[in-house]
Symmetry: C2
Subunit: 429 residues, 2 copies
């Protein structure tokens, strides 16, 4: 139940009004907003720092094959679905924006350094093959024929042709052009009071309620957005929104990652043509080549207290392990060290869908909270999963829920409301 | 001989006029300008990017003992002279500015990792002792008693109590306050047309001549500074000034250095209390602790083509070797990676003093070019040598040349003018 402060005010004369409000302007929020706008709905995207969260650090690997982990087959289905949507999604954004996204279908090479790395990658290949995924072992000579700067000391290399890449910063820039362009060209899609007809550069403080339905967003600056549907896509911050449905648990935790951007001197270009994903004495590292002559090296996974601070130990380890794969990394120019937190969940899968009226009741007859969709907890997979999340959210607006995605229900970690003390009930008592 | 374009224009009505013009606003140029201003002369400091060159990267170690190299005893005299001036210089700046410089007399600890490092440090100690410098071996237990976060795997530690530090960025900020404050308080020191009464934020293009004397500076923007004396203190750029005396060779070369700034988490403070200078399998690295809870780790020496670009290989090596000395470096936050070029000379000693009318003639009866002092080529020692350079330049303005500093004559690499083709003579022919 909402508290009084979250009730839709009687007079909302100054409110921004849109068909749909999307909270959170990372890659996922941008992709969802664009797909919703394409479905003919007016949309606002609410964020005081668009693209500055986990998306700012993301390498943009689109790697359903390499990212397969044991016993995460549900997630594999979602990743495969997303992967199949990427060509059309990227082409659509590029056409609408008149600008590219850095989407490249160059392959990925999985590389190990020692015998244990080789065994781990071959074991994973067995799982990948069992799931119908193509992973082809190469000899070291074949691998170095393709990528001459690979170290001769590698223990194995596997070609993974289905794992691709996009440039998340370019993707967001193009999605912004596409969103603004559509609002400019189609008056009924333009939202009055929003920048470029769609952008609300403010922090979302909480959800607004009217009756038993979510009716929009309360902004930290005091304003309101009135919307028929609200999508919560602000990553780690989703759990701290005010006015979430009672009993809904969003168990998000920050998993920090450090990532490096480097420039390849002319005489070493291209450093590599494929994305190189290494296992270096058991530690993962990747090198993603961009079209502009830079490479991205990542990424650590830390659950320590450094927050968005860059870890000296992680930078050291990334440079050490990347040099083990490609020794010429030592000769690159270090442009940028960035750290951000990814929104992790207990099962490494997203929180995606509508919320039951009694979260956690597991009663199939239970209806959903009207006006609310959750789309967060994408952890390491936010960029890859964006086209799928966008399609799923848009289908939910149309009333079409695909049972394949039921495992990602955002209230799967919630207990029945009666079993937990409700902070809102306490506040209103 | 000056060319026509370097001749003092007949009408210099719009010129900035000062007793002394200093070209180059690094630590050295600032220090010289301040000392000259203190001597009662009006001064301008010409630079379009004050403090942004080698000074921006400098760690600020004041280490005459640790920086002693074999067969550089002349330089040792100058470093010792500078070191003895530092307490008074730092106190004077701080008093005049009403702001500190980060000058600290905490000791330096020289630390080796393997047996060869130990031998190298003990050999250097013999040279240091032969020159009357105090370097005291400690047991590893004693060293770790003082610095508990030192690695237990070090092979030796030597206490060097006379090697201190300053914060170059704070020093420049305070020197700017001091220069501006004096110009504000003493009208005859304020230069009309200069910012804060002393700053000319433009690039110097060349020297102006009148008769056989340097008469000021031509600015890249077209303006002029007319000054009775000009000090050339713009580091690597000194050699490319237009209108240098015919035959004067300033053989400066860029020696790039990468340096890191890191923040120490509260629970690890202080990481170290002394400056730690390590020799790690023969490679030098240092860790300089600042009062604000940060540390500086440096510095590579590269003569490659990366210019002010940060070398990934150097960052890796600095973090690797700093961790060998103090493993907890891995837990620090990496704030900044910076690279700059130091102005190296063939004998690693500065180019400091007046220039003979016939550079390289070695004729003791030869006079000096009036109105011109050179102060560049400080290589790794710019910050340490600043108070000495400032005192030497000011003494030269007073007509007092100390024969101890004759070895640093800026024309010591020049050949007699008749033996070299003069570009100026060609131009005017």
């Amino acid at each position: 139940m909402p508290t009084a402060s979250n009730a839709l005010p009687g007079s909302t004369g100054d409110a921004i009004r849109a068909d749909v409000a999307v909270i959170g302007a990372g890659v996922v929020g941008h992709g969802i907003a664009w797909e919703i706008q394409r479905s003919g709905r007016s949309v606002v995207l609410i964020d005081d720092a668009p693209g500055a969260g986990a998306s700012w650090a993301a390498a943009g690997m689109l790697a359903p094959v390499s990212e397969l982990h044991y016993q995460e087959e549900d997630l594999l289905d979602l990743m495969t679905e997303a992967s199949s949507r990427w060509p059309g999604f990227a082409a659509g954004v590029a056409t609408a924006a008149g600008a590219g996204t850095g989407y490249l279908t160059t392959p990925t090479l999985a590389v190990g350094i020692d015998a244990a790395d080789r065994r781990a990658l071959m074991d994973l290949r067995a799982v990948q093959q069992a799931n119908g995924l193509e992973v082809q072992p190469l000899t070291v000579r074949e691998a170095r024929g393709r990528e001459p700067l690979l170290s001769p000391a590698i223990s194995c290399a596997l070609d993974t042709p289905a794992d691709h890449q996009v440039d998340p910063r370019r993707l967001i820039a193009s999605l912004r052009l596409a969103l603004g362009g559509a609002a400019r060209e189609t008056p009924e899609l333009a939202v009055a009071g929003a920048g470029d007809g769609y952008a609300v550069p403010e922090r979302a403080a909480g959800l607004l309620w009217e009756g038993g339905a979510v009716a929009g967003v309360r902004l930290a600056g005091g304003g309101t957005v009135v919307a028929g549907e609200t999508v919560v896509a602000n990553g780690l911050h989703a759990g701290s929104l005010d006015g979430l449905p009672d009993g809904l648990e969003l168990p998000l935790r920050p998993v920090h990652g450090d990532i490096l951007r480097l420039s390849v001197p002319q005489h070493l270009r291209p450093l590599v043509t494929a994305t190189v994903r290494g296992l270096v004495h058991g530690i993962p590292v990747y090198i993603v080549p961009r079209q502009d002559g830079t490479v991205v090296i990542g990424a650590s996974q830390r659950e320590d207290a450094l927050s968005d601070a860059v870890s000296a130990g992680s930078v050291y380890q990334l440079l050490r392990d990347a040099q083990a794969l490609v020794p010429a990394v030592a000769e690159l120019e270090l442009l940028e060290c960035t750290a951000r937190a990814r929104p992790g969940t207990p099962d490494n899968a997203p929180l995606l869908g509508r919320v039951a009226v009694s979260p956690g009741s597991r009663d199939p007859g239970d209806g959903h909270v009207p006006g609310l969709i959750i789309a967060t907890g994408f952890f390491r997979h936010g960029v890859l999963l964006t086209p799928a999340a966008a399609a799923i959210c848009t289908a939910l607006l149309d009333g079409a829920a695909d049972p394949r995605w039921a495992p990602f229900s955002p209230d799967r970690f919630s207990r029945p409301a009666a079993a937990v003390p409700s902070p809102h009930m306490k506040e209103t008592a």
